[in-house]
Symmetry: C2
Subunit: 355 residues, 2 copies
């Protein structure tokens, strides 16, 4: 048994007393040393999510951090490979989810209209503008439709998936501009409060950035937004990039794709620009916002920092954190009860806040 | 640069495609190996919280896990030492927070009435029943008053702090019984919807367990409850007990005090009993619940699991996760902007939901 003095230093109560009696300790540890560990699969997650997690390989942090195309040609080869693989299954997935989709070009921007086989009558006049994830480099074309299908299918709502332009050919602000173009187009035919905007990861960040831009342009804001584990800070300021490194089975680490893609997307602009890292913007007068993340998500901090900014500015903001979820695990384990719950709650949120 | 095949396996999109094209990988890794790391202080936390975190020593996981009194005498010596230290500063703290307090015995239960120097007229008829933390062993007597002072001072509301009985002399269900005794007493003089119940850590868990008990007794539920990083699962099922081990500067690890205190409190009952680990109870018809935790909190999972159960049963439940917070860091860094925000939001929640 350790000495009582050492013991009590590990309790909040005794430490609070210490704070008031001797004042804060002088800063000394700018870093904490955390030993190597074995982490069991999350016992309280659903059996399906747990099995999916157990099927993931051990993290290769060094290998992941070594990734980063350096030329436009390397980036394009990566995108072709990744999106090509993702597109292969799109028809099968549309059938599995009970949706149909069609490509259009609207005011110069590529979109996909995604229609569920059955529309909820309460969503008849609503439109969900969807912006895909993929670190602002992948997920283009049909490869970006996966979550659009999930939303259309589970909320029984019509989705317009915006196939925004991306680097290396089209860095920031092309993506934001394309979202605004389509938003303006949809606004011609229906009230702003009948429109939702949202997506996951880069799509969540782009959603938040687009609201900043909508404010700057003096447009009316959408009725509700969805920021699924949003990439809201492209600098490396978020705590969970460090604390959940290696625990997050999808992102794994932050010095590889995330870091390279951030620089590619910014195209010379500062990463702290509020339309690139929207957490640094003004969160006054935001639409009601539905946020999702997980205990193992490397963007847990991005998500909760946005939540706090929204709340500090008096907005409606609904934070949902799932046990054992890595980044966007509701997409990686889409048939898990947790993923079903994510979209059931999104639907409830839309029905509450869209007019 | 790694091969494209390896690269795409780290993206959600490609993995989702893999899910649909080849089905889930067969389970293999029941544990993940996470290498040792250096974790910087959270850059996006306030300067005050960051300085407080940097003042904490490196985690001594093995030393922390070695803690565990084995006899009643050892427990009592630990409690005397810990609570004695905490009580020393109570008068100075009452003055600093602008509150007065008085001890009473009501229906055999010790309580402290805590009155702010100024009461918000909107809270004139409200009462906050407070249950302290301390792993069901420490925080008794005046040592449990610290958060009661913060709530009374910041929400300008009258607080009744319940000095519930604790082990080794009084294991479960004494604590729950004492909360019910005082709740019944307060109900004699004011409507249930004018009463809030809440606390942090063991106090948060006890709050949730008390609602289960209130349901069993057929009493009307309080108007609102506060579950600050609640110890809602005394088994070791929560993911963050593993993922945030060593990152949480307050709890540090789970096989020391937490494990020993859980066994002592349960006194032979199963740890999964719904009045001991309330996450296993029925969350139907709960009062509006305000929840607080942090990205480094070892009870992050306890908190989010309760949030999900509340939401799945259709309750109003407001989850707030703070960047860089260890367990109950709003008590350890009580003058930080984050701690101010925790109680400002609690106050807003009470004003919204209490009648």
């Amino acid at each position: 048994m350790r000495s009582f003095l050492a013991l009590t230093s590990s309790t909040a109560i005794a430490l609070l007393v210490a704070f008031y009696t001797i004042g804060p300790t002088s800063a000394q540890n700018s870093e904490r040393s955390i030993p190597a560990r074995m982490i069991p699969a999350p016992a309280a997650a659903s059996a399906e999510l747990r099995e999916s997690i157990m099927g993931s390989p051990d993290p290769d942090i060094a290998g992941n951090n070594a990734f980063g195309p350096t030329t436009d040609q390397e980036w394009k080869a990566f995108v072709t490979q990744s999106d090509g693989a993702a597109s292969q299954a799109v028809d099968a997935m549309a059938q599995a989810f009970g949706v149909t989709f069609a490509h259009h070009v609207v005011d110069g921007v590529n979109i996909y209209q995604v229609s569920p086989n059955e529309v909820n009558p309460d969503h008849e006049e609503h439109r969900f503008l969807f912006v895909h994830g993929g670190a602002y480099v992948i997920g283009g074309g049909e490869a970006g439709l996966l979550e659009a299908f999930l939303i259309a299918s589970r909320a029984k709502i019509r989705v317009i998936s915006i196939d925004y332009r991306m680097p290396p050919d089209h860095p920031f602000p092309a993506a934001v501009d394309d979202v605004i173009t389509i938003y303006r187009h949809v606004l011609q035919n229906r009230p702003a409060k009948a429109i939702a905007l949202g997506g996951t990861s880069a799509g969540g960040g782009l959603t938040l950035a687009s609201i900043h831009r909508i404010h700057e342009l003096g447009l009316e804001t959408p009725g509700a937004i969805y920021a699924g584990t949003p990439w809201a800070d492209l600098t490396k300021a978020s705590d969970s990039l460090h604390t959940n490194q290696g625990l997050d089975r999808i992102l794994v680490s932050s010095d590889g794709l995330l870091k390279s893609a951030a620089a590619l997307y910014a195209g010379g602009e500062e990463l702290t620009h509020h339309l690139i890292s929207p957490v640094y913007g003004d969160f006054n007068d935001f639409p009601p916002t539905y946020l999702v993340t997980g205990t193992r998500d490397m963007l847990l901090s991005d998500t909760v920092r946005v939540h706090r900014k929204l709340r500090a500015n008096g907005n409606i903001a609904d934070l949902n954190v799932y046990e054992g979820f890595s980044h966007a695990d509701y997409l990686l384990a889409p048939t898990s009860p947790e993923s079903q719950e994510v979209y059931a709650e999104l639907d409830k949120f839309l029905l509450t806040h869209l007019d």
